[in-house]
């Protein structure tokens, strides 16, 4: 015989609602209220599971979260790679299969359960709605507090789900507290009917009423199907399941007698109770079965299900009793996984023979059996034997007493080391049935007293949780905010390929007729060098710096002087960290005596604004300066190329565009295409260029007007890749690409922008540090590969000599590398040790496909005198 359904009874199931599901390809009958585990037992399925390493037959061992054997994959009506069968309610039509301790991911994107995330704020969160959790929750709610009560089962043993409806209580059933974090932050996973709900709870107080886990006892072949924790038998009676017709109980404490009585009351037979507790017994407890005082279970028999139990008496007598169920109880261990993971302490209590909580965070308390209100007999961890190689401790890792003994023999003493050597406690059951046993076996093997060291620490999540659940709805388009410019629809329409720059979507290049990227970028560069191109530069960070002290403030933030910039003029600026390293760059436009617009790199806008605020608030609160981000308020069209002036003129403007009236590095207020605009003559391509800054809501309209006006001049839209090539041809660096936080202005050959006569500025003092003035620092140079068709990979290392022997001294690395139509060859920018003094020399890039010789050059190969730009 095996387990079976009782003819009647079982408060946890609804016999009027028969359903069915598929387990390993076979249809299995169940009732609403069954868990997968209770249904498997009710149908008498022998050896439904396998152990993951040894392949031994295994059965359902528990009725809760501590389950070490019964793991299933769910494939319908949702996908879940691995979950304890004891924790999932059967749904009609469900398809599940056994999984030996390890989940597997499918090669396709499976359909998980729908997930939502919710936030909650409560005065009190109680984990566990048994007797000890129910009453504090009810009382707090009666005081008018907001209370959340979390229960991992569908209802509690006392049926609180039915009658607990106090106002102010959020009562979550089939819900698990996954982890406790600082200051009462708790994550709770609720398996609601239609979806999984991940709660983010902030609680002023948290009470753990998480109960206790029943201890196992290790003996030979203790993993055979039919062996089960004693209280699980009582649990399954609530599901109308009798775990066996004829049962033997092996116990180290008085509590297991209740489970025996329950079985008898429901038509089962208890053949014997082997009791090693040594406790004086209430005679009433023994009425249901023969009690064998001091006897132990020395082994089990059977093939795919338990058939008999071998027992050994205190005097060496032996008996074999036929049975189909063996209930084991070594006592109870407070469930303190959540408590320990947030830093709560443990001590071994000699009265209750268990680890109990000590000090923890002030907002957290533990009550009931979790707090140590358990009754155990003297500890009994395993049945001594010469051969303990089938005394299983961690069923999910197939680890035995003998395995623990081997590691202790090898010199390991700490349970944390034993855990890592044996993997005990590292499977998805988190060692709930093996942690304390392992610690106590190690203690015993070392000759130490019980509790000398406790079980290894637990970490969240307390139960396995799919990453998809943690991600919730925050994936795809909701993963991170996506920022687009006002011109974005035009770019999409035109078939732009986008790249992510921070949260921005920027056109990378605009392919025509399916042309490859290389061709598109070439065409876009050619347009800018020979005719005209337009780029959407709206993503530039833009900050208005306003106030009487704005000039003095910017003098302190930039390496050069901004206070003497004339209204109507523009100046390039470099910003350093306190350590003297380049942090960001951009231009400053003087809008008025007390008003500047400064631009930043697209990715650096928030950093620069935060930095301004930090200095203003913490070091210079006396300065009258206000900073406002206006990045989103202005759309920017950058028109670059020899025909740029003609295009702006054709678009229609009231601004005098002549070189004399509107020279390079100035800005003018006026109109373009009928829209109020700020025109700026700045160039990141080295060509004649105008930037049109217009209110964002006119961005698309002005962009379209420019493209229409530019058509007769051959205007092309160009993306960030062409922009990178064009600027690199001019030797203009991109902060964050050519620099990496370890580069000074001098390293970049930009001493010209460091004004040492104007007084202090952020980073100035660091520029004199001995390490910063070393002549052999990596410095920015240009590189020409010997063969003008060879494109160096960005990141390639540079060595001074082609020795061919590994290792070789590294001298630098390539930061930017492109094919240049303007130069008629490939070229690169690189950081090279002592590079400023090496122009004309040869260095080598050792690559897997061969070493490339390169000539070191100035980093500004194109139009070095800037005549085109100033035109």
């Amino acid at each position: 015989m095996t387990a079976r359904r009782t003819p009647s009874g079982g408060s946890g199931i609804d016999r009027a609602e028969p359903i069915s599901f598929t387990f390993d390809g076979e249809e299995v009958a169940a009732f609403v209220g069954d868990t997968i585990a209770s249904a498997i037992l009710a149908n008498g399925i022998e050896a439904p599971f396998r152990s993951p390493i040894l392949g031994r037959p295994r059965g359902v061992f528990s009725a809760g979260a501590e389950e070490p054997n019964a793991f299933v994959e769910i494939s319908e009506p949702w996908f879940e790679p691995i979950v304890a069968a004891t924790m999932v309610d059967v749904v009609d039509g469900m398809v599940v299969g056994s999984r030996p301790g390890v989940g597997r991911l499918r090669g396709y994107a499976p359909r998980g359960r729908p997930v939502e995330h919710r936030n909650a704020h409560v005065e009190l969160l109680v984990v566990g709605s048994g007797h000890d959790g129910f009453y504090p929750a009810r009382d707090a709610a009666a005081r008018g507090e907001r209370v959340m009560l979390v229960e991992q089962h569908r209802t509690t043993e006392r049926g609180a789900g039915g009658d607990f409806r106090a106002e102010g209580v959020t009562y979550l059933t089939r819900a698990t507290a996954l982890g406790l974090y600082d200051d009462g932050y708790v994550t709770v996973l609720e398996h609601a009917d239609e979806l999984d709900r991940l709660w983010h709870v902030r609680a002023r107080r948290v009470i753990l009423a998480t109960g206790a886990f029943e201890r196992s006892i290790a003996f030979a072949d203790n993993d055979r199907p039919g062996v089960m924790l004693s209280h699980a038998a009582s649990r399954y009676l609530e599901h109308g399941v009798l775990v066996g017709s004829r049962t033997v109980v092996f116990t180290a404490h008085a509590g297991a007698y209740g489970a025996a009585s329950n079985l008898v009351a429901h038509g089962g037979e208890v053949a014997a109770i082997a009791d090693v507790s040594g406790i004086e017994l209430d005679p009433g407890l023994a009425r249901d079965a023969e009690v064998l005082r001091g006897w132990v279970v020395s082994g089990t028999e059977g093939d795919r299900w338990l058939e008999a139990v071998d027992l050994e008496g205190p005097d060496g007598d032996r008996r074999t009793i036929e049975c189909d169920s063996l209930l084991v109880s070594g006592g109870w261990d407070p469930n303190l996984a959540l408590w320990r993971a947030i830093g709560g302490g443990l001590r071994f209590d000699d009265e209750v023979h268990a680890f109990v909580p000590t000090e923890g965070p002030p907002w957290l308390s533990v009550v009931g059996s979790a707090a140590g209100e358990v009754r155990n007999g003297a500890p009994y961890w395993f049945v001594p034997s010469e051969d303990t190689s089938r005394h299983f401790v961690d069923f999910q890792r197939d680890q035995t007493i003998a395995d623990i003994a081997d590691t202790v023999d090898a010199g390991l003493r700490s349970v944390e080391h034993v855990k890592r050597a044996t993997y005990i406690g590292t499977a998805i059951d988190q060692g709930r049935t093996s942690g304390v046993i392992t610690a106590e076996v190690v203690n015993a093997l070392l000759g130490e007293s019980p509790g000398w060291q406790g079980p290894s620490n637990a970490r969240p999540p307390a139960m396995p949780v799919p990453f998809a659940t943690l991600a919730g709805p925050f994936r795809g388009a909701l993963f991170d905010p996506i920022r687009t410019t006002p011109m974005h629809p035009w770019h999409v329409e035109r078939g732009a390929v986008f790249e992510n720059v921070g949260q921005w979507k920027r056109p990378w290049f605009f392919p025509r007729d399916g042309e490859p990227m290389e061709r598109a970028v070439e065409r876009e560069c050619l347009a800018v060098r020979t005719a005209v191109g337009a780029m959407d530069a709206s993503t530039l960070g833009k900050i208005e710096v306003v106030g009487a002290d704005a000039p003095a403030f910017l003098d302190r933030m930039y390496t050069n002087r901004m206070s003497n910039l004339a209204v109507g003029s523009i100046r390039y600026g470099l910003m350093l960290g306190l350590d003297g390293m380049v942090l960001d760059d951009g231009v400053a436009m003087r809008l008025a005596d007390d008003r500047y617009l400064v631009t930043t790199t697209t990715g650096g806008a928030a950093t620069v604004l935060d930095r301004f605020e930090e200095w203003l608030q913490t070091e210079w609160p006396d300065l009258h300066v206000y900073c406002t981000s206006v990045t989103e308020q202005w759309a920017v069209v950058a028109i670059n190329g020899p025909r740029a002036r003609e295009v702006v003129s054709a678009a229609g403007t009231d601004v005098d565009l002549s070189r004399e009236a509107f020279p390079f590095m100035t800005w003018r207020d006026g109109h373009v295409a009928g829209v109020h605009a700020r025109l700026a003559r700045v160039s990141f391509s080295g060509e004649l260029a105008y930037e049109l800054h217009v209110p964002a809501w006119h961005g698309l309209e002005v962009w379209e007007a420019v493209m229409a006006a530019g058509a007769p001049f051959g205007i092309e839209p160009y993306g960030t890749e062409a922009m990178h090539v064009l600027r690199a041809e001019k030797g203009y660096v991109i902060v964050g690409q050519d620099t990496d936080g370890s580069v000074t202005p001098h390293d970049l050959g930009m001493d010209w922008i460091v004004n040492r006569s104007k007084g202090d500025f952020v980073g100035r003092r660091s520029l004199r540090r001995s390490d910063v003035v070393r002549p052999d620092r990596k410095q920015l140079i240009g590189l020409f590969p010997a063969d003008g068709r060879t494109l160096l990979p960005e990141g390639a290392q540079l060595v001074p000599e082609d020795t061919g022997k590994i290792p070789m001294p590294l001298a630098g690395h390539v930061t930017s590398s492109y094919r240049s139509l303007a130069l008629g060859r490939t070229f690169a920018l690189a950081m090279l040790a002592g590079g400023h003094a090496m122009h004309g020399r040869t260095v080598y890039a050792p690559l897997p496909e061969g070493t490339v010789a390169c000539t070191v050059t100035s980093p500004m190969p194109y139009d070095p005198d800037g005549e085109r730009r100033d035109g």
Partner: protein, 89 residues
């Protein structure tokens, strides 16, 4: 996740803040007068006590204001914080 006591907004989630390191390290009045060692001491060296530690916090996703707070580095417990102009923590 910590609840950080912003003196203006009240306790808020840690993710709303940026950490600013040890508080009370003033920017030197004349950095050029400092030796390399004294400058490096200001630039790189900070205390790392177990226990009470005065720190700077920036409520970057809230009121965008800086403040100082004392936190126990062993228990993570904050002492009540005060706005900077109401005295040092």
């Amino acid at each position: 996740m910590l609840l950080v006591p912003c003196p203006w907004c009240g306790p808020r989630e840690e993710i709303e803040f940026r950490y600013g390191g040890q508080a009370g390290i003033a920017y030197p009045s004349d950095p050029e007068a400092l030796s390399d060692e004294a400058w490096a001491d200001f630039l790189f060296l900070r205390d790392n006590p177990k226990g009470a530690f005065a720190e700077r916090w920036y409520h970057v996703a809230g009121c965008r204001r800086w403040f100082d707070a004392v936190r126990d580095t062993a228990t993570y417990a904050f002492e009540p914080s005060t706005p900077p102009d109401e005295g040092d923590p």
